[in-house]
Amino acid sequence: MELFVFVCASVMVLVGALGVIVRKHPVHAALSLVLTLFGIAVLFVAQSAEFLAAVQVIVYAGAIVILFLFVIMLLGVDKAENLQIEPLTGQRWIAGVVGLGMVGLLTTAVVSGSDVLRLRGLGIASSVAGENADANIQQLANSIFSDYVFAFEVTSVLLVVAVVGTVLLARRRTGKGIA
């Protein structure tokens, strides 16, 4: 069963990722990105990270991709670009070789380092329907709000800074004297 889920979700992820880099139209690329993000969410569920899967769908597929689509529409760049011309000669070949080399290196590293992955944590509570359906959320909340509560507060500062900075960046400069 987990094999079936893994294969289906992997196909979703890889097809979506390839779609992002080969589709001419930016809107199509954004929609391929949605496919990839949903595949990742399925893989999260398969690995009993239910809360993260929900956050993945809400934040990534819901908010971030919509933001991308908004910007595409706002800037009016929603037309297909010509991918035939190559700005730098031979760049695609070199990029492909770099990509293949990266796959090879990372795969070698993962396979040769897989014996490092042994159980040494406190255990992950799995959410089982019926008895303790939100065990994953409870354990994650215990971790975030006790061990990492300072980092959690800092992320709220980060979000405020990001919002203020974006408003300053993206607003139209009218009048003089107002920087």
Partner: protein
Amino acid sequence: MFGLVVVPTPTWYLVLSAVLFSIGAVGVLVRRNPLVMFMCIELMLNAVNLTFVTVGRAMSDINGQAIVFFVMVVAAAEVVVGLGIIVSIMRRRSGVNVDDLTELKG
């Protein structure tokens, strides 16, 4: 059961996320539209998130999922700021090609 049941090991997930990361990196190298390059950066961030969850599960440690939570928050902030920069650049020039944006070149 059917005797031999193949269960995906953590290595499978890690190899998948390595492939996803490489696709994102190749996309950043190949594409010239800044929005699509941004999407490729999102691909790489998702590959890293998948790695964190997989390793956290293999080590039976909830901290792998906690850090993914923080990565998602930082990614959201990063997308907001990056798209703000792209909007403000695009407003004063019409092209959608990062090769034209060489004003900061020394």
